[in-house]
Symmetry: C2
Subunit: 121 residues, 2 copies
Amino acid sequence: MELSQAVTALSALAHEGRLRVFRELVQAGPDGLAAGEVSRRVDIQPNTLSASLAVLSHAGLVTSRRDGRSIIYSAAYERMSQVLGFLLRDCCNGSPEICAPIAAILNAAACCGGSSSPTGV
Amino acid sequence: MELSQAVTALSALAHEGRLRVFRELVQAGPDGLAAGEVSRRVDIQPNTLSASLAVLSHAGLVTSRRDGRSIIYSAAYERMSQVLGFLLRDCCNGSPEICAPIAAILNAAACCGGSSSPTGV
DNA sequence: TTTATAATTCATGTATCGTTGAATTATGGA
DNA sequence: TCCATAATTCAACGATACATGAATTATAAA
């Protein structure tokens, strides 16, 4: 991932409405949600939401597919992990002990990061 | 971490110059760098850099201390991990298998996340 | 005290972003 | 075909963010 791509993704998330939308999709899981359903859940007008989804989509953070009259949006989990990986890259250059706690917090937040041993922190 | 704090942090990082500055500090380690040294390394004018560092500082992503005529800036590793954790929270609600790859990438990026077994991915 | 260095603050002009109402496109059902 | 629903696009106005040059504060050395 390049710097400009990371900036685009971070910019997309650096907005209250868009961050709420993104997290709603992240929590919704891989099946995603119709735009109208997102609009109702986060209480954002359809046209405003459409602009927000366009920004997230342009940043590669969500994908979409049509289903009848609805358009279903889903979080792009892989892209999200690339962005987070970019922020962490070389984080402990020269002093590995610094970012060990970071890895621990991330393992805890990613509820399925059970591949790491809790005691190893 | 609250939504508004996350937005503030993401906004601070959603800028090419500031992101370069932040990563430079992340890679520099806990000892940090003097503002002037950062200015030289990322090739940004002192006054512009000062504004960037102020934004990062306000977002809690860097800390500073005076040393003689210099002011030393350091990355706030804990804050960074809080932000990343916020983005990941509840990411696999209902389908844990989805975010397993995310945890794997993060463990790889955080070079010291060696507590997880590579084969466990 | 005077001078030089390090960094910040301030004012300003420009550019970009974000929301909204109205109009438009696309699909499904009567 | 005609109508209703779902979502997007467009134009426009207001607000916010950015970079820069000049001035200011803080520290150290002569």
